[in-house]
Structure formats: structure tokens, C-alpha cells
Symmetry: C2
Subunit: 243 residues, 2 copies
DNA sequence: GCACGGTTCCAACAAAAGTTAAGGACGCGG
DNA sequence: CCGCGTCCTTAACTTTTGTTGGAACCGTGC
């Protein structure tokens, strides 16, 4: 993948979430990025580690998670190309959770040093990245609501719609279906339910003709019912830079 | 309350979470703050509103929450003096959740304008506030884990210990008991359970001789059992500035 | 082609949590 | 001091979710 294309994903994302000036784009494009390939289901940074780089997803899906002493795992967020899931490590030096790949992924690493230098030089770029971490935070808030207050079928629908809207933002929503490359085990970990119950919920949504989930691909059968179930309010994604 | 004392709470907090230089302290102390009193159970900023100020808690307890279309409410975080719960509104201009008081509270408002000016001038101060929002984010992650993976009694214990440790940080842990001024209804909203079930859980912990909860005050009966139940790992609070 | 591991799927039973309803404690204002 | 409202408390019953265990499916490597 050419170097330009790698940066394009990042720029595209920042353009969506912030009002970015042309000269700032040039600054961001000048950031040195070292690219590496990761297989599926692989840790990128682990809980307790001290990070020295931030990780830009060039291609593939990632997830952040925490594992308890008793082995139970909670998925905190899903991540798609153009995002920097561990931007927070810039100032929270030791990781408090894991970042790992869901699918085979192409990741670009940007050193903390380079990032710190850049935004000491350019407060506008700093604010842009700051805003990015704040949107991340807003998504966690919604995730709390999802896990805490919605019944399991609604939780699943909500996570699906959030993912779909984010894929749409980066122009990766080709057809009426979209990718959600999680096993049922992982879906359970995301929703705070067991894999068995995740299976039940998926079956139920299929039987009710709302949505079909097959080998990591979501096909919506009844858009109206789907939205009604998910109770999705996109404001928390803070898509409009001016708002 | 004298103006100095108001700022002291904030400085104290920033000192704990970041390595702050003396000249930066002076900058922060120079911030204009307008103080107002709020009764208990009152909205400070509401979901959907556009904020123009950030709110420093001088005295009292606050909580952030989101309310769903069906009326269900999820509490996202609890806040104590010295914190700025809506710092995020600086760059996420329209609120995606509510901020309200739990007890009567003294709040200091700092205009976005003043804050923006300050950290354009001083990147170090900006980084300090940025870090503050990142810790906020880390606490949301742990809250997700709590609601998603722990059984209800452990959830309650975890929230209690988190609160206790934070009160300790700001030097407000007088004795063996501490304040947690939530009704059982609100405890339910924080843990993602109903008020009835919250009551059951509280009773259970009392009967097992682990912890007592009485009119907003927590008394630990068996510290060992309490900690074991809560499964509390303080790393996510990122207390040490150097880490 | 076949064995293998990881998923998916499912059913029966157990446990946790939600719902409804109602009585009691407590503080506040008249 | 009484009445009222809020919170706390509890019980009985229902629903959701977890647990256990097992069968079917599917792609991969041999």
C-alpha cells in the first residue's frame, strides 16, 4: 500500500470529525508512520504495557477490551480504518486495557515523540487530536448505556447500527449488508452477555425477520424494526465539526 | 468561600493527576471563575445543550447520566470536588449527556473562551487538561467492565471503592466510613439494575457483614471481603503523573 | 478425503434480575 | 403534632440470562 493511501485514511477521518485546515493536513501528512501487518486475533498493545507509539488502523478491524482476574473479558469498542484507538496512550502512558486485531490488519505506528512535537508546534492539530479522544470517550458513554440499560436484542442492534454508521462515514458501506467480524463469543463480550445468550439473541432477531448475521456479515431484513429496536441516536458520535 | 479556596481544589486535583509546574499553577489560578450554588438533584447542563462554560465542582457531589427514550436512566460517573466533569464540552460543544448535582453543591464556572486562550498560550497546561479528560475516559472504560461483567454485588462494591479512593486522593476520607450520597434508585441507575434489586444487593452485603450503607454513608465492616468482592485494580485511575 | 479445531446452534435446567404491589420509616412543612 | 411525600424494605411471581452439555457445521491442513 502506498504511503499516501495510508495517510489518506487518517486525514479522511479527521476531516469528518474536525474542521481541519489545509496547512494542518500537510503537518499530519508529514508524520513518520511505520507500517506493519498483523494476523487476526492478535494483541497490538497489552494492558499494563507502556506504549511508545500510537497505532493507526490502515486496514482491518480492531477491538479494545479488558480482562478481569476471573478471566471474563469485556469488549469496550470496535475500531475501523482511519482510527487511532490508542491515542490516549500519548498521555496515559501505561495501558489500562488491551488493543487487539479482530481480522488480519494493516497498522501504522506513529511515535509519541513525533506526535508530541507536532502539537506543541501546532495547537490546532493538538485540538483536533484532543477532540478525537473526546469522541472516543463519548462512545464509551453510549456503550455504558447500551450494556447497562438496554435488553440484549437492543444492545446487539445498537452496536450494529453504530458500526454501520461509522463505516458509512469512511465510505466503506458498499451494499445493504456490512462487515461485523466478531464471533458470537466476542459479540457476547461486547454486549455483556454469554456466548450462548448471544446466540439466542441472534436467532431471535433472525426469526423475527429483523436482521441476519452470517459469518461476520450483517444483513438488515427490516430497516424500520431494526432502527426501532436499536434506539439509535447518533448525536454522541459528534460527526459535525461545527457542533 | 474565598476565591483561593475555590482554586485550591482544582490545583490539588491537577497536582495529583499530572506533573504540574509552578508557573502553570499561576496560569490556572488566574482563570476567572464565577461561583454559583446549586440545590441537590438539579441539572447543571443538559443533554443536547450547547455549553459555553466548564464546571468546576468546588463542593458537593455531581453525577453524569443519559436518559433513554423509554425513560430509563444510566448514571455514567460520579464526581467530587476538584473535578471538572464537563471539560469535554470545550471541544464537544453540544452535550451528549446530563450533568446534575446529587447534593447541594458549590460550582465554579470557567468560560470556554478563557480555557481556550490559556492553552493556546501554554501547551503544557493544555496537556494537563487533556490528560484529565483521558483519565475520565479511562474511568468510563472501567465502568463498562463493571456493568458488563461483574455480578451486581461486585458492581456495587467496585463503585464504592472507586469513590473511596478518589475521596482519599483529595483528602476527604475522614474516618472508616465515607459519603456516597445516592438513593437506592440512583445506585440502581449506576449499576444497571433496578432499584428493587439494588435494595436486595445492599441487604445481602449488609447481612454478609461486608459493608453497611445508611443514608448516603458507607461503612465497611470487613475490609478483606470488601476488596475481594470488588476486584478493584486502581491502575485505571492513572494517579501517578509519571506513569 | 478425512480428521481436527473452532464455531454455531440448541435444549434443559439453574440462577440472577425485573415486575408488581404493599407496608413501614423518616423528614418536612403546615 | 399531624399529614404527606420520598425513600427504604420486603415478598411473590415472571422474565431474562447463565450454565452445562452435546450435536451439527465448516474451513483448513494433512
Amino acid at each position: 500500500m502506498p504511503s499516501d493511501a495510508i495517510r489518506a485514511a487518517l486525514i479522511e477521518r479527521l476531516r469528518v470529525s474536525s474542521a481541519i485546515a489545509e496547512e494542518d493536513i500537510r503537518e499530519v501528512e508529514a508524520l513518520p508512520i511505520s507500517v506493519r501487518q498483523f494476523p487476526a486475533e492478535t494483541a497490538v498493545v497489552r494492558d499494563g504495557e507502556r506504549a511508545t507509539d500510537c497505532c493507526l488502523i490502515v486496514d482491518g478491524f480492531c477491538a479494545r477490551s479488558k480482562t478481569l482476574a476471573n478471566g471474563k473479558r469485556q469488549i469496550l469498542s470496535l475500531h475501523i480504518p482511519g482510527e487511532i484507538p490508542d491515542l490516549m496512550s500519548l498521555f496515559l502512558h501505561v495501558m489500562d486495557h488491551d488493543l487487539s486485531t479482530l481480522t488480519p490488519a494493516t497498522l501504522g505506528f506513529i511515535s509519541h515523540e513525533a506526535l508530541q512535537k507536532l502539537h506543541r508546534r501546532s495547537p490546532r492539530v493538538a485540538e483536533m487530536f484532543w477532540r478525537d479522544t473526546l469522541i472516543d470517550s463519548a462512545m464509551f458513554r453510549e456503550w455504558i448505556v447500551n450494556v447497562g440499560q438496554r435488553p440484549a436484542p437492543a444492545r446487539l442492534a445498537h452496536v450494529m447500527i453504530e458500526l454501520r454508521e461509522r463505516l458509512r462515514m469512511i465510505g466503506r458501506l458498499d451494499s445493504d449488508s456490512f462487515e461485523m467480524p466478531l464471533t458470537q463469543e466476542q459479540i457476547g463480550e461486547a454486549l455483556g452477555i454469554t456466548a450462548v445468550h448471544a446466540n439466542r439473541v441472534i436467532r431471535q432477531l433472525r426469526q423475527e425477520g429483523i436482521v441476519e448475521l452470517n459469518r461476520g456479515r450483517v444483513t438488515v431484513l427490516d430497516e424500520r424494526k431494526f432502527q426501532e429496536l436499536a434506539d439509535f441516536e447518533p448525536r454522541y458520535l459528534h460527526q459535525s465539526p461545527t457542533l
